[in-house]
Amino acid sequence: MIIQGNKGSVDLESPIEATELQKDRFINFFKANYNAVKIVEVRSFRSIRLNPNRMFLRKFIDEEIPFLLNLDNPVGKVAESLGRPIMTVAKKRGELLPTFINWTIKANRNMVTEDMDKLIADFIEYQKKYREEKKQIRKEGKNKDKRIKELQERIEFWKSSKKREELETFARFGKIEGNVDDLINKKIIEFQEEIGKINLNLKKSEL
């Protein structure tokens, strides 16, 4: 049932079937012995288990950040409490610290005099907001890319002989007024202007 690696990693050979009580006890066992334990409802379980051919990367979760930034605990103790290798925790701490320091400087916060727990909580909140904003910008960017592509296709269509023939037919029957060339150019300029506006907004949102 348990897979034990030679470096200290532990896995389960497969998910454990448990009664409600056993499930609660399993969760409580980890909550009592480790920090930042998060329970996630899933649709399916992973198929690949601890084995000699595969390395497993465990993404850090927000719940772990307060422990990573906790001044009072040495790296070994933090690693133990998070169920992670010391090297991974040391590396993550080293990666997280410049961002944290940068934020305190920009936000005019004081790491020496302020309550560290409050400072870390605010930093996590800031990071969450920052990530959400980035996600939103990326989403908007994708929609804008789609619109630009559409407009470029329209430009090509308005430049095509097919469209010209269609407009000339309409003009012959008096369905449209004015010169066909002027109409085509006007429409193409309209599309190009819209592309220009989208690109300008994209640049602004990237700043």
Binding site: S9, F29, K38, F45, G83, K91, N102, I105, N110
Partner: protein
């Protein structure tokens, strides 16, 4: 750590690193709760460090000050001519130690070069 649950099933999201004591406690828990002591031992895959040479370059006070600049690792890599691993390892060590020291001594963060020199003087 993430524990995945679905109906009456529980699982680790990814393998968990445990100390000898934690492994012992976990085995005991599983034995008591699920009445099984089955253990499968495997060799773990290690990161490929072949060809990587380690040269330790002494850290200067001004470099330590740079670790408090808030600049990201790629910028610091260029500025200090060091690799990301060296910066992250030193960063996590020195920043915590200097912060604890600054709190004790009532010094400001980010520290000046003088602060770092004082810190090193007291801690070497």
């Amino acid at each position: 750590m993430i524990i995945n649950v679905k109906d009456n099933w529980v699982d680790f999201d990814k393998p968990v690193r445990m100390t000898e004591r934690q492994i012992k406690d976990f085995k005991k828990f599983i034995q008591e709760e699920f009445n099984t002591s089955e253990i499968k031992y495997v060799k773990e895959k290690e990161p490929n460090r072949e060809g990587i040479e380690v040269h330790q370059k002494k850290w200067e006070a001004w470099e330590m000050v740079a670790l408090f600049s808030g600049e990201d690792t790629p910028t610091l890599e260029k500025k200090l001519n060091r690799n990301s691993m060296s910066i992250q390892m030193m960063g996590q060590k020195i920043v915590f130690e200097v912060l604890a020291w600054a709190k004790k001594r009532g010094r400001a963060i980010p520290p000046t070069q003088k602060d770092i020199e004082d810190f090193l003087g007291e801690n070497q």
